[in-house]
Symmetry: C2
Subunit: 136 residues, 2 copies
DNA sequence: CAGCATCCAATTAGATACTG
DNA sequence: CAGTATCTAATTGGATGCTG
């Protein structure tokens, strides 16, 4: 069992409560890079460099940080091959695989609804620009 | 159609590309407060104060900011009743409802797998503490 | 009640240089 | 190749005071 401050959580978890540990887990998952890393690993193990190239715009530092957090929380495994040059493989664990599809669904939604969102955004911005000053 | 810098996106969206607008949308969704707000609105419209009480730990500023972003992107609607004192209702739009279940799945996963994650975390931290210094 | 404005602290993220 | 370490810039977030 996992513990936090000596307490155990069997059920009744509620991410709406700030003190509930599920809030921390939600915070790990509710992250752009986590979503993309896990999605990439859904297709099988990848090396550090492969991930970096796949996740356009991520810096080496952020990738390292994201991977460490995911490893620490048991969503991915890290395998080091003591070769020269070194080779490190990252792979989703069983636990990780169980969440990948959920995260992927969110990413796919984003890709599918781009135009709905951009339309709404344009309309909102245009309305805001045309509106009289709230009060002057 | 939504546009960004005069470009239109019909298909082939890819959140793995930094310049793809779906990356921005993913960033909006991949957020702790977005997840919780949308989840709360899945049960029907709520007032500002109701949301604030429901989302334990959120500040007024963050709630306002989150709600504005969601409204701008068309996921929620905002209805002002010009009464005294004022009353403002927030409700998921059709577009918003279409993503709520996906986000809820992520939150529920967090709540269900607390112990798996905490176990992994404990094991990782213990291993790290026991490990010899990487190199001194 | 439902905010907005402001100031400040803390966290996050990028750039750069270096290593087994 | 796969990082670590460090410094700095930018963003986020919290606290407080005020308003229609």
């Amino acid at each position: 069992m996992g513990t936090i401050d000596g307490l155990r959580f069997y059920g009744g978890a509620d991410a709406y409560l700030a003190a509930c540990p599920s809030r921390q887990i939600l915070d790990l998952l509710a992250n752009k890079w986590t979503m993309l890393v896990m999605g990439a690993l859904g297709g099988g193990p990848l090396r550090f460099g492969e991930l970096r190239r796949r996740l356009d715009g991520i810096t080496q530092k952020m990738l390292t940080q994201t991977l460490r957090n995911l490893e620490r929380d048991g969503l991915i495994s890290r395998t080091v091959y003591p070769t020269i040059p070194p080779r490190v493989d990252y792979a989703a664990t069983d636990l990780g695989h169980s969440v990948i599809e959920l995260l992927k669904a969110v990413r796919v939604w984003s890709e599918k609804h781009i135009n709905d969102v951009l339309d709404a955004r344009d309309a909102y911005d245009e309305r805001a620009a045309r509106e009289p000053q709230p009060l002057a």
